[in-house]
Point group: C2
Chain length 398, copies 2
Amino acid sequence: MSSKSFLPPKRTLMGPGPSDVSERVLQAMARPTIGHLDPAFVGMMDDMKRLLQYAFQTNNALTMPVSAPGSAGMETCFVNLLEPGDKAIVCQNGVFGGRMKENVERCGATAIMVEDDWGKVVDPNKVEAALKAHPDAKLVAFVHAETSTGAQSDAKTLVELAHKHDCLTIVDAVTSLGGTPVLVDEWGIDAIYSGTQKCLSAPPGLSPVSFSERALDVIKQRKHKVQSWFLDLTLVMGYWGGGAKRAYHHTAPINSLYALHEALLMLEEEGLENAWQRHAQHHQALRAGLEAMGFNFVVAEQDRLPQLNAIYIPDGVDDAAVRSTLLQQHNLEIGAGLGALAGKVWRIGLMGSSCSMWHVEYCLTALDKVLSEMGARIKSGVAVDSAKAAFEQLKKAS
Amino acid sequence: MSSKSFLPPKRTLMGPGPSDVSERVLQAMARPTIGHLDPAFVGMMDDMKRLLQYAFQTNNALTMPVSAPGSAGMETCFVNLLEPGDKAIVCQNGVFGGRMKENVERCGATAIMVEDDWGKVVDPNKVEAALKAHPDAKLVAFVHAETSTGAQSDAKTLVELAHKHDCLTIVDAVTSLGGTPVLVDEWGIDAIYSGTQKCLSAPPGLSPVSFSERALDVIKQRKHKVQSWFLDLTLVMGYWGGGAKRAYHHTAPINSLYALHEALLMLEEEGLENAWQRHAQHHQALRAGLEAMGFNFVVAEQDRLPQLNAIYIPDGVDDAAVRSTLLQQHNLEIGAGLGALAGKVWRIGLMGSSCSMWHVEYCLTALDKVLSEMGARIKSGVAVDSAKAAFEQLKKAS
């Protein structure tokens, strides 16, 4: 067997992430590798921190990218804040709340589960009941934007509740950061993690995180060492903690950081509010198109994430065949259902660079064509015009 | 403060890693991002596995890159093989043995330390004594190629000893893989991890690992869940474990994997034996040049890693000033001393794409110039000719 260079096809990425990565970000990634202690690189790290603080809307000093994907960002939050014997209230309304539970238990802590149906938001009343029933809980963890369903929970209210009961908060903003408001300081979030491959549209592999002073105090007062050496913030801080003198901890993923820096720069150039508005408007356009075809959304209107559109697969339609045909014939990736929603829903992403009218029209056209050819009972030929009309109306109003 | 795109300087990387990344690998990294479950990507993963098996000289089915830097590869080995209450013999002859100890203890296990001086190899007699004194030890962990000193230990002998006493082995091959022989199957290594930014000359951020059947059996029979969800091989295997059906675990660092694939392809094209010989010959050339200038090596001749040359800083020479001048005036990065050797040694890497006569001559010339200008008592103007002569002689002999 002889190998050859891998030349990936050029896809249009409209699943739950990765989203399309722009040529500008890809070319930034291909710049010459330099050392992780090079003064030039350290200067870039300072600017990266400032850009991440902007994206998270925070002044938290401990704001940086973890050198591994979002799951490692999640783990960074839990292993640093929890110790054996602690109790954590974990809200689950999809796949990622379940992953949080796994993290809590692997820290030797107890997870008090607050469960809501998949596709619903986290219910503040249930969280309050759990806080009252467990006055010894140390923190409340929840997913702001559930990537498995497209539901957006009310982070502000949940954080307020947690603080009222003297609990810290861990927030999953993997899919929300850069797509809908994530106001770390205004909402008082204590620990938050995200990913690069969603609304930031950098390649996957890093996880931006931010920790409040309050969270940092808890970490400084730990009785046990953090169980992960790699994710131990007391050590990582020696490298990312600022100042001219950086202590070697691990070798940072240099080129991936170039890419993230460029992507964050693009977000700053556009402006956060404009990015949020862009996601909201294109969601309405896609929605108009999908509803015109006869699709139903999984999540109630007021709780929908604009950047992740979960829709029910029409009866009698072969899930895998449709997705495979979209990929093979149209180079279009949309997402399958995860966990309890596997086989029942599709997840259409409008994230970062994948959030444009070109994407909306391309997706609607391809979906219409493939479903029509398969004889699915949808209303064909109406989607794109509906999307355009909805978009024009929003543009006029704004 | 306004940001702009980060344009890194073009350095010549001759420190302990990252090494120079070729244009070919950088361009591979900049190819379009596709989904981590895309059939095209899954095909690349299969080829990646085969290439890693070649690099590691193993048929181990569980051979893959961990989605984070070498430190996370180390942690993957320890957290999967150790459980609370276990005992591990850890050999330390530099910085990275100390990191292994941290890993063992954070698993709730006990580390029995076997210590050798920095710059020496791991002493098999001491390891045997520890094995006899601790018949209940579960594994022996050691660093094959100590990046902090440039000493190469006898992995074959150490693994044999461990097996004789019914222990598993964890081997750090971060700096050796691709530069000197690493024969996983022939030596019977049970768990091994490496990095991408040393002799493979891909950007940092991934850690190739390989596990024997015997190691896998131990993992399958664990009593406790692996403490890290992100690094839990029983879960990661669902994604990397082969077969057409890949289960989502975490989002793989797509573009970093493109780069590693291309770098491994280059290694295959050159041939492992040729790569080992290239590192050995250029080491001799660099050595001839450095010795002609009057430098002394930290490690005894027979124990030296060709790809990492630790030399004593001449008396009265300002360590930081020399490295800073090399970087600012010659765009040349060489490594500082780490830990016990900080301020006492320089570490000159000849790794992967940074291992050529161009690099040897460039480094010797720059070092000669900077030291002479600073008035250091070295023999100037002789290094490059000595290096060339040594290299020619080796080429003739081979």
